[in-house]
């Protein structure tokens, strides 16, 4: 009964108007969902979760390996890590990007300390040239080489590293 009444109403002019408005509403909703979907796809593709996970695990495994070495070590980490902050604290490496400590998205991985050595905890900011893992006598430390900014605003990278290390 109500369906018949509804069909009759939809065939009238006012019913057509409401139908049109609902179609417009549907289009707007589909458009918004499409935008959200594209944004999600974009975030997933550009996301750095994999990189952070990789660097956190690799750094933790590297520290474990350095502890395993019977002698002294000085190792320059070869990968490009200058987009990320590294926080080497007690039994864990935390890797994050700018503002992620507040907004969330940090990745961490545990490593096993050897308390016979003194581990010098360190925070490494982004925009570094490279990270150096070092074990000497009774100390283990992770240092970084900062990027050198030229007075004119330009930035010296790559070839300038040897100058900075001096």
């Amino acid at each position: 009964m109500s369906c018949k009444r509804g069909n009759r109403f939809l065939n009238s002019k006012k019913g057509m108007d409401i139908d049109l408005w609902f179609n417009v509403f549907e289009l707007v909703i589909v458009f918004l969902v499409g935008l959200v979907l594209l944004d999600t796809v974009n975030n997933e593709v550009k996301g750095t979760a994999f990189e952070k996970n990789y660097f956190a695990r690799d750094s933790a495994l590297l520290i474990n390996t350095i502890y395993a070495s019977p002698g002294d070590i000085n190792y320059n980490y070869p990968d490009k890590t200058d987009n990320f902050f590294f926080d080497f604290s007690k039994n864990r490496v935390v890797v994050y990007e700018q503002n992620e400590l507040v907004e969330g998205g940090v990745t961490e991985y545990p490593f096993a300390e050897d308390l016979n050595y003194l581990f010098l905890y360190n925070k490494i900011p982004n925009r570094h040239l490279n990270i150096i893992y070092k074990k000497t006598n009774d100390n283990v430390e992770v240092k970084y080489v900062p990027q050198k900014f030229a007075p004119g605003g330009g930035m010296i990278r790559g070839g300038g590293a040897s100058d900075i290390l001096k």
């Binding site: 509804g6 109403f9 139908d19 996970n53 695990r57 495994l61 395993a68």
Partner: protein, 181 residues
């Protein structure tokens, strides 16, 4: 009268819109699910972790290998039996608390070392993270609930020399390392 008719029509439209909305949500979630399936974020480093621990136990000067403090040299293939004996028969030993420590709780890795003296056939067992080992070891079997896939294991066997009271004997060190994935 007209208003009632209009209100009735809108509610009918809204009811008709429910399946469309559900369909839209299903399509949206399916795309997100497929995307998450395709984008790989997981890294399985369990085997590397296990091999590094086995090497750390074997090569580090502070675990079981003989260390000459005068010349500051480690003899990786020579087990200092005095050190080894101290680590036995304790639930939490010096490896857990000092040499390879993950802090208060180790929820990642465990190991069982079996040192077999070839000459006397005696076997001495040392655990690293004994609680973790006893909890995870049954899970290596696929028939156990929560097993098969939740942990990974490697076994490492090395021929060694056992140094005990200025006497050197031949032995085999068997290391089974279990890593939680």
């Amino acid at each position: 009268m007209t208003f009632n008719k209009k209100r009735g029509s809108i509610s009918e439209h809204l009811i008709l819109w429910i399946p469309k909305f559900i369909y839209l949500v299903i399509v949206f979630l399916s795309v997100i699910f497929l995307l998450r399936m395709l984008v790989i974020n997981n890294i399985d480093s369990s085997e590397a972790e296990a091999r590094i621990l086995a090497n750390r136990i074997f090569y580090s000067p502070n675990v079981i290998s003989y260390y000459d403090s005068e010349i500051k040299r480690v003899y990786p293939s020579t087990i200092d039996f005095e050190k080894y004996r101290k680590l036995q028969n304790t639930d939490i030993n010096e490896i857990d608390t000092k040499s390879i420590t993950y802090g208060k709780e180790n929820k990642l890795i465990a190991a069982k070392l079996t040192l077999q003296n070839i000459e006397t056939n005696a076997q001495d067992i040392v655990f690293y993270n004994k609680d973790g080992y006893e909890f995870w070891e049954p899970r290596l079997l696929s028939t156990v609930a929560g097993g098969s896939g939740s942990v990974d294991s490697i076994t490492n066997q090395r021929y060694v020399l056992i140094k005990s009271n200025n006497k050197i004997e031949k032995g085999i060190l068997n290391m089974q390392v279990i890593v939680r994935k």
